[in-house]
Symmetry: C2
Subunit: 217 residues, 2 copies
C-alpha cells in the first residue's frame, strides 16, 4: 500500500511527523515523502531541513494521500500550483485522501471537499468554508474516503484511526503502545472550548497576523 | 535561551519533533538541531532525511539540552562516543538536561542519571537501571534539572511542562492551544497498564528482537 505524504517549504513538522510515525509502522506500507521538487526544504520555523528524494510526479496514484498543514497553506490554496494539481489528480484513484490541520485548505483548493463535512485547525474554519466544505469542530472527520484532522497534533489521532481502518484494531493499538501514546498534557488547554478565553483571543490574533504576513508575501 | 536538540542516525522522528514543536514557540528561544557531523542523517525508518547544519561542537554550553530516543540508543549508550561526551560536558552548565524515550540511556551513559529517578520507554526500564537510575513509570520525571519523558509521544508533554517552567503557564497553554493538543486517541492502549496483554507481549518481543539486531550490528 503506497502512502504519499506531501511536503512543501513552510510545512509544520508535527503535522506530518505524527501520522508518519504511525503509518510507517503499518505492515506492508510503502511510505513516500514527496514534494514539488527534490532537495532540501525547511519547515515553518526554518530550522528543520528535510531532504526530499521524491517528487509528486513519482507518486501519481498513491492509495493514501496525506497533506499536512502550515501557515503558508492559506496562500498556497488560493494560488494553486503543483501540490493542488497533484491532489486533484491523485484523489481520483486514492483509497483515502487525508489532511492534518490547514492541509485541508489544499484539499479544498483541489476540489476534494466540495459539499463534504471536514475539519482543520480551529483558526481556519472560515477559510475552509471558502472551498465548499462544511467545517466541523471534531478531532477527526470521516466523509467517505476523505479524512480530515484538526490542528497539528491531531495528526497522531488521525494516523491511529487510519491504521485501525486499514489493518485492524490490534495493529493500531500495538502501534499506540509502541509510541507510548498515553497523552498526559500538563494543562487542559488544547481546544477553544477549554483554553482560557484571553489565550484564545491572543493566539487567534497572532495567527491572523502571521497569516496576513504570508498572504501579503 | 539556547536549546540544543541532539540528533543521530536512527533517531525516532516524533521523539524530537514533539518537543521541538513546543520549544521553538518559546519567546526568546534559540533552538539548534545538532549532531556529531553536519550533513544529512536518516531517522529510524530511513525515510525522513534531515539536513543538519550544526555539530555538537557548535553548541558546547546550551541552557537546555534534549536527547530524543530510537532503537539504536541501547547500542550507542554502551559504545559511548561523541554524543555521550557532549552530554557529559554540556550537562555541567545546563539549566535543564532532558530526554525523550530511550534518549535517557544516553543521559545515563553520560553519567547524568546516577542515583536519580528517571523514565524512558516502557520497554527500556531494565536498561536504564544499568546506568544507576531508578526507573519510574511516569509520563515525565523531574529530578532537579534532569527531566526525562516516557516513550516517543511523551516528548510533547515534556515540552509543555518545560515551557511552563521556563515561560509560565500562560505561554505553555497558548502553545498547547496553537498546536490544538487536545488528544483523543481512538483507543486507550498507550501504556502497558491499559493495552491488551497479548499486545504488550507482542510489542515487547518485537522491540527486543529489533534491539538484538541493532546490538549485534
Amino acid at each position: 500500500m503506497q502512502i504519499a505524504i506531501a511536503l512543501y517549504p513552510g510545512v509544520a513538522a508535527l503535522d506530518f511527523v505524527g501520522p508518519y510515525t504511525v503509518l510507517t509502522q503499518l505492515p506492508g506500507a510503502d511510505v513516500v515523502l514527496c514534494a514539488a521538487e527534490r532537495g532540501v526544504l525547511a519547515d515553518d520555523s526554518g530550522l528543520l531541513r528535510v531532504d526530499v528524494e521524491h517528487t509528486f510526479d513519482d507518486v501519481p496514484a498513491p492509495s493514501l494521500l496525506l497533506v499536512p498543514g502550515g501557515m503558508v497553506t492559506r496562500r498556497m490554496a488560493r494560488d494553486g500550483g503543483a501540490i493542488v494539481e497533484w491532489i486533484a489528480a491523485a484523489h481520483a484513484t486514492t483509497t483515502y485522501t487525508t489532511s492534518v490541520c490547514t492541509g485541508a485548505l489544499l484539499l479544498g483548493a483541489a476540489g476534494v471537499l466540495s459539499g463534504l463535512e471536514a475539519t482543520t485547525h480551529w483558526g481556519a474554519y472560515d477559510e475552509l468554508a471558502r472551498y465548499g466544505a462544511h467545517p466541523v469542530a471534531r478531532r477527526v472527520v470521516v466523509a467517505g474516503k476523505v479524512w480530515t484532522a484538526a490542528g497539528v497534533s491531531a495528526g497522531i489521532d488521525l494516523g491511529l484511526a487510519l491504521a485501525a481502518a486499514i489493518a485492524g484494531d490490534d495493529v493500531a493499538q500495538a502501534i499506540q503502545l509502541g509510541i507510548e501514546y498515553d497523552p498526559q498534557p500538563p494543562f487542559d488547554a488544547g481546544s477553544v472550548d477549554k483554553a482560557p478565553r484571553h489565550l484564545v483571543e491572543m493566539v487567534s490574533a497572532r495567527m491572523a497576523a502571521a497569516e496576513r504576513r504570508v498572504l501579503a508575501g
